[in-house]
């Protein structure tokens, strides 16, 4: 084995230890709920907690709403910018990066000021209205990831020629988007969707300040009130994220119309 190969392996092992050690530590701690033996008690407590089920279900529904909202905003925008206004791409990219530098607390206070019960559009006055605000906030937070995922998907296909081919066959803009562009960037949309899902599942600030029963505030509440359950919850959340990644890979490989 050459020195270069040994060096590569050393870096790989170091990185693996750096990433895996905290996970292993959390996993090990989550199994210690029963004194002296390893057990799944913490997992049993978490999974059996009705609040866990309710908050997770709420966040799952909200993540679907966020993905739909995000795709509806981002896909036509990215498509139009690529097709008609390529010069505006850096500007749009900059705008989509803003949620990374503007803290969620600014966004949520903005929402509360704009849409409180005394405003023209009192969205915070009802549960549905506040749910919509929460989905809008999540869509904003996921903008950098969703835009990049979709833009990368669009880069992989010949948007202009496919659009013109569809138009020459009589298709209008909606048909072009729905039947030609979106199906061909489905895997990219999916990867954006799972990143959005990961953000929605863990987000705390917006959900807490809008006082909605989401999974993020539940995890924080659990962390401040229990010992072993938060570790179990962290492992479960991590497992869900990795399962999402596996689904992306699986669906990407199963896409029938592209070479793998």
């Amino acid at each position: 084995m050459t020195a270069k190969r040994i060096g590569s392996w050393a870096v790989f092992i170091l990185a693996a230890v750096y990433f895996l050690l905290p996970l292993v530590g959390t996993l090990e701690f989550s199994l210690r709920a029963r004194r002296g033996v390893y057990s799944l008690d913490a997992y049993r407590n978490v999974l059996g907690d009705p609040q866990f089920q309710q908050t997770l279900a709420y966040s799952l529904i909200l993540s679907v709403a966020t993905v739909v909202l995000g795709v509806l905003i981002v896909a036509p925008t990215a498509f139009w910018v690529r097709l008609k206004m390529p010069r505006l791409r850096p500007v749009v990219e900059f705008i989509t990066l803003l949620p990374l530098v503007i803290p969620p607390i600014i966004i949520v206070f903005g929402y509360i000021r704009l849409f409180n019960t005394a405003s023209i559009l009192p969205l915070t006055g009802s549960s549905r209205g506040t749910d919509f605000l929460l989905a809008a906030g999540y869509a904003t937070l996921s903008l950098p990831y969703m835009y990049r995922a979709i833009d990368t998907g669009l880069r992989a296909i010949d948007v202009r020629t496919l659009t013109e081919a569809a138009q020459s066959l009589g298709a209008g803009w909606v048909t072009v988007l729905a039947r030609v562009i979106l199906p061909n960037i489905a895997v990219a949309i999916l990867s954006g969707a799972f990143l959005t899902f990961a953000i929605v599942i863990g987000e705390y600030v917006i959900a807490a300040l809008l006082n909605r029963p989401a999974f993020g505030p539940y995890m924080v509440w659990m962390g401040s009130n229990r010992a072993y359950e938060p570790a179990a919850l962290a492992v479960i959340a991590f497992g869900m994220t990795w399962a999402s990644m596996a689904v992306i890979q699986f669906l990407a490989r199963r896409t029938r119309f592209t070479k793998v």
């Binding site: 013109e164 081919a165 138009q167 020459s168 009589g170 298709a171 030609v180 199906p183 119309f257 070479k259």
Partner: protein, 350 residues
């Protein structure tokens, strides 16, 4: 009234004028090629007809109706692209059915038409395949079937053969022309390949600098090029410059000798003139007598014929001859005489 009428079309992109004062009339069922080098504006003309570009000036009329207010998807114009542009997520049959589905045709009628189209291009057996599972030639056949399926009024072909290899290109151009004749569909074909244009078209429009340099049948374009550009672009050509003289008949006094000019050439004695002679019109002869004289600089075997590079003064003339016409005495570095039949000397206007 012409089926398609393009009048005074003009188009600029920023400061660059791409198409200027472009006029063309196509009869119903006619196959017209726009031929020219890259950047001459031929694709822009096609894209304006398709509705993908808006002309800055002029009008596009189909069956007497101006198309300028219609969007691309309202014009009923089929188009085949250089890069095939098949929808990757759809099978061959679904691609062909796309336009019919958009037009909300009944499912049974769609199935019948798709079968008919795929039979026409000989791909019925591959209808369940995806585009990536087809060769380039097969993909272009599907693109053709897809463009024709909704029965468009006009078919536009944007360099459909240039991404294919030579053998498939030749086979497909015959196929396209046969299908076009069969359906009688008015077709505008863009190409930079003169052989394609000459072999497929009813008429050719040779374009240069955004303008139509010459419009004519392939025979006219080849045998009577109107300008130096057309002459140079269509086939290989020797452009010979000289001064017109008169000694019984008219002749062109040029580097390398005298070139007899046909009667009625319209040239005045003393006038400076450019004429064109195709390499295959020149015949090697003995050095004595009328005609051009030069030195053989290079001999190229081209398969069906042999090409001589002959230096006549400062000018190099290309001569194509079959082996049987080639005098055994032709040697590199040796002298050679060249004659041309007067009716094969072409006058160039610019």
């Amino acid at each position: 009234m012409a089926f398609i009428d393009l009048t005074s079309l003009g188009k600029s992109f920023g400061p660059t004028t791409v198409v200027r004062d472009f006029d063309l009339a196509l009869g119903m069922g006619e196959f017209v090629s726009l031929l020219g080098p890259s950047g001459c504006g031929k694709t822009t003309v096609l894209r304006m007809v398709a509705g993908f570009e808006t002309p800055d000036s002029g009008d596009i009329r189909i069956e007497g109706q101006s198309q300028l207010r219609l969007r691309a998807n309202q014009r009923q114009i089929g188009m085949v692209f250089q890069s095939y542009a098949l929808f990757p997520n759809l099978t061959v049959a679904e691609n062909v059915a796309f336009g019919l589905r958009v037009a909300k045709t009944a499912p049974a009628a769609i199935a019948r038409r798709v079968e008919e189209m795929l039979d026409m291009v000989g791909l019925a057996a591959l209808k369940a395949r995806y585009p990536y599972q087809l060769s380039g030639g097969q993909q272009q056949r599907v693109a053709l079937a897809r463009a024709i399926a909704p029965r468009p009024r006009v078919l536009l072909l944007d360099e459909p053969l240039s991404a294919l290899d030579a053998k498939i290109r030749v086979a497909l151009r015959t196929e396209i022309r046969t299908i076009q004749r069969q359906l009688g569909i008015t077709t505008l074909f863009v190409t930079h390949d003169q052989e394609e244009a000459l072999s497929m078209s009813d008429r050719i429009v040779v374009m240069n600098g955004g303008r139509a340099e010459q419009i004519g049948t392939p025979v006219e374009i080849y045998n009577q090029p109107a300008t130096r550009f057309v002459a140079g672009f269509i086939g290989t050509l020797n452009v010979i410059e000289g001064q017109v003289g008169r000694d019984g008949g008219a002749y062109l006094d040029c580097a390398g000798g005298r070139l007899p000019l046909p009667d009625g050439f319209g040239a005045q004695a003393g006038e400076r003139l450019s004429v064109a002679v195709r390499p295959q019109s020149l015949r090697p002869v003995a050095v004595e007598g009328d005609g051009l004289r030069g030195i053989v600089r290079h001999v190229e075997f081209m398969g069906a014929f042999t090409r001589l590079h002959v230096a006549c003064g400062a000018m190099t003339v290309l001569v194509d001859c079959f082996a049987r016409d080639l005098a055994a005495t032709v040697t590199v570095g040796g002298p050679i005489g060249l004659t041309v039949a007067t009716d094969e000397v072409l006058r160039l206007s610019a």
